[in-house]
Amino acid sequence: MTSRAMRQPLSLRLTSNGLLILWCLIAAFPIFWITVMSFKTPVDAFDANALNVIFGPATRAKGHGISVFDILLLLVTLWALWQVAAKRLPSMVRSYAPAGAVWLGWLIGIAAFALVALVTLFGIMPALAAALNPVLGALGVDVIGLTTEHYKTVWIDRGFSNNFQNSLIVTAGVVSVSLTVGTLAGYGLARSGSTLAFWILIVALVFRALPHSVLVAGYLPVFINSSEWLAPILGENAPTLYGKPMAVIAVLVAINQPFTIWMLRSFFQNIPAELDEAARVDGCNHFQAFRRVIMPVMWPGVITTGLFSFLLAYNDFLVTSLLLDAQNQTMVPAIAGMFNRETTTTDQVVAVAAAVSITAPLFILVMVFQRQIVSGLTAGAVKG
């Protein structure tokens, strides 16, 4: 390729990069802004002047704020934690985990890291800042108003931790069941060239287009009356499925199934069929070939598909809000309830804090799994 012929004039490059920067600003601004708002008192959060929202004079006047020293301390801590997570953690896991159970090593490593991060950020750092700020003079004076009281209101007073647990149960259930069922089906579909496989895929595609409310309209009466029609099978203590996380997990798995099998199929097609043919020649049957040869190499695709299952379960509003009762409510429907009863601006800022709490895990998810998400988005598309 002759690079000179393809070289672009300076003006074009400048426009292109300028517009790209503009897009990045548009993409990040709403998320950045609700994060800023969630740390201010209502007066500051809904101020018409952008600078007042960022620096929060009213919040500072109430005695909540952070100094230049606090900001520096926070940046250094975050940088150090990132370094540990990105460099030390993988090598530690590799050297300490037993050979067969690397995933267990990762699980323990991540849990330990989360504990260390929480203790540093919420235990050691505030104490250090409180001790050093008075002696530091100009560096120790509050410059930006910042308060965490809305987060306390959300998580402690409004019982958001309970919703968080419910979200965890639902997402964990959906991801594990949907991957187990979907991996088998995806493998079967990828390795079978039959007409039946083709039609299953087409029907799945049609199912993907269905509005979810159509399906929920089908479940609701059945789930509400389930103790009646399950009674002949299960006897006296037949459960009412309505309101149970289990029922919602099953529903979300099914809704997600078309997408899952399409995606996993395209990943399995990338694994050469010679691999399992070789295993079959060596005397494995299909299941053994799958278990011993395919499973060790399929993890990238499974992780990517798992991420998308997680997103579906975590982001869902319609199914969870209609099929779960109040005590099993997940985070996203819970916030809608919070928003509807907005009476004061304080309630609104509390809702903003809840929104940021829901978004934070997703932010970390993109940070860690960016490559897998991009490969997942392009997997179905590029290969047709």
Binding site: Q8, L20, A28, P211, S213, A217, L220, P221, A254, Y314
Partner: protein, 340 residues
């Protein structure tokens, strides 16, 4: 792979889809022809209030729900034919409004209002999504290699965010004295209320949707751009094609399968528009088809869910998506057959 092995692999997945997708579809279809109602009986109740010398007594007729022996409320399910569909469509009212030539009276009927919005929303956001996605993809492709990763990271944020939360975050920027409304008021010197009339809300909803889905289109197109044949680009340069002509005649035809793919996904997803109505709390002004079904399913003050009406509106929603997808599906089918 013989049939039995195939069935064993695919079985659980197909079973789940049959039980939780195909079966509910059938049950919705059947439900839409039946109505389940509480059985009432009319009883005469005499209420007396103590008064001076004589009691004042009044008898009135009250309808009370009948209870069965377990003291549950008795219900009766009746076949009503197309009545639920008539209740949702309100054809008489719609026809009268149309004959009178009154668009606003026509749009006062929930179903037609929802249908109008859902279709406009889907068809307007489609080209915007494709255009913006293509633009971002080209810009990322133009940018230096080192910044591509961070730019893709930032671009993924609107895509990955929970739809309700994303809509809410845009809502907070514009609501009341939100920062962007304040900025627009300062710029134009007028009072602006973004949530007081339907068209501004619809505009915000479309903006939100494009913001939310354009990253997906952009990343798919960006991946496609990596496989553009550089030889054809080079020969186009030699033939004296301008930048625009190269884009128009080489890059876009190369991306065409991806553009069709993204359009189909977008048609399916935009037709299901729902979270926007929740996030912008716009039910007073703007509703969508899926929200209509949702609203029928949410218990009203008396705790009743109008399941049959929800089923009818769900069936109508499904007919809509089928009609919308037939054209692109047939096109892909023709291309698929023509390609082999």
């Amino acid at each position: 792979m013989n049939f039995r092995t195939f069935a064993a692999f695919v079985g659980p997945s197909v079973f789940m889809m049959l039980l939780f997708i195909a079966f509910p579809l059938v049950s919705v279809f059947v439900q839409s022809f039946y109505v389940t109602q509480t059985v009432y009986e009319v009883v005469e109740v005499e209420t007396c209030t103590p008064g001076f010398l004589t009691q004042t007594c009044t008898t009135e007729q009250k309808s009370v729900p009948l209870l069965d022996e377990d003291s549950h409320v008795m219900t009766r399910t009746e076949f009503v034919g197309l009545q639920s569909y008539r209740n949702v469509l309100e054809l008489d009212r719609a026809w009268a409004a149309l004959k009178a030539g009154s668009w606003s009276a026509f749009q006062a009927i929930d179903f037609w209002k929802a249908l109008r919005f859902t279709l406009t929303f889907t068809l307007i956001t489609l080209p915007l999504n494709i255009g913006l996605g293509l633009g971002i993809a080209l810009m990322i492709n133009n940018a230096a290699k080192a910044v591509r990763g961070p730019v893709i990271f930032i671009s993924l944020l609107p895509f990955i965010i929970t739809p309700v939360i994303g809509a809410l975050s845009i809502n907070w920027l514009f609501r009341g004295d939100g920062i962007l409304t304040a900025a627009m008021e300062w710029y134009s010197g007028r009072d602006i209320a973004m949530f007081a009339q339907a068209w501004t809300i619809e505009l915000l909803m479309m903006l939100y949707r494009v913001w939310h889905v354009a990253p997906f289109a952009a990343i798919v197109f960006y991946a496609g751009l990596q496989t553009v044949n550089s030889d054809s680009l080079e020969s186009a340069v030699i033939d004296g094609a301008s930048r625009w002509q190269r884009l128009r005649f080489i890059v876009i035809p190369h991306l065409m399968p991806l553009i069709i793919f993204v359009s189909m996904i977008h048609l399916m997803d935009a037709y299901r528009v729902f979270e926007e109505v929740v996030g912008f709390s716009s039910q007073g002004h703007v509703i969508s088809l899926q929200w209509l079904t949702y609203d029928f399913l949410v218990p009203d003050q008396a705790g009743n869910r109008s399941v049959s009406r929800a089923s009818a509106s769900a069936m109508l929603t499904m007919i809509g998506i089928t009609l919308l997808l037939i054209a692109p599906l047939r096109r892909t089918w023709r291309d698929h057959k023509g390609g082999h």
